[in-house]
Subunit: 150 residues, 2 copies
Amino acid sequence: MSTTRTTPVQEPTETGASGSGNNNFNSAVGEHMFDKVLTPSDVGKLNRLVIPKQHAENYFPLEDNQTGTVLDFEDRTGKISQSYVMTKGWCRFVKEMKLESGDIVSFHRGYVPDDNEPEKRKNIFFIDWRHRANTNLVHNINYHHYPLLG
Amino acid sequence: MSTTRTTPVQEPTETGASGSGNNNFNSAVGEHMFDKVLTPSDVGKLNRLVIPKQHAENYFPLEDNQTGTVLDFEDRTGKISQSYVMTKGWCRFVKEMKLESGDIVSFHRGYVPDDNEPEKRKNIFFIDWRHRANTNLVHNINYHHYPLLG
DNA sequence: TCCTCGACCTGACAT
DNA sequence: GATGTCAGGTCGAGG
């Protein structure tokens, strides 16, 4: 219970292709971006989800992230690092899905053509979740998905 | 000791023009950007300075900050917020300047013409500091400045 | 009031 | 020991 650091956020189990039973969402929803095993504070009273920096910058449309701005102190260097949290809407999501520490959320991205500008594509985000395995809960290994609009 | 929140990061005392004695640095160094009163952790073992978000986004060349990316959960909204800290080089600065909680750092910006492209200007950053007033320390109300390269 | 949200502060830990 | 990131808190504004 004590050591609850983020799982070394492993690269995805390559899209639901692995046989872990998460195929009750249509594969057409899009590509898998990343997973996070929820920490106690992700599902606690803090009402926020810490998003691993690398994934936030890789996958969300934050535009032009330089992973920190570097300045120089004369001969030295000063670096400004950034971190990312999701706040708005998260707490409601946790409650409705009854998420607990150890459960897993999984972000996916899809595209739709933009009707007005066919050469452009519009992002659609999805968030899936499942209860962790190795639990006494009834609903283990159930996957769900929840659409997002980007 | 307990309540050590950031001073409501007030707007600057409008460039050293106010009579608080901070004129031992050449006014040619540039415009005043913002101040921060140092917290205990800013000068402690954590080796980092928390930079108020608004100032980081207003003044540093982080490019294209949208102050949080907004996604929509169907009819809901999820928002990703960012925070900023300065890490590299900060701890050395604190030690050399003997900064303590309650002291104030002040960021300034100047410009120099870019020799190759005269129409462009290059940022130069400076960080000034002073010990807080109302202290028993000897060096109160001393201002210093420290050049940065941008 | 209570809750959410957003910003900030502080500490732990990995590298 | 220095740096970078994440976890876990507090606080205040606003609904």
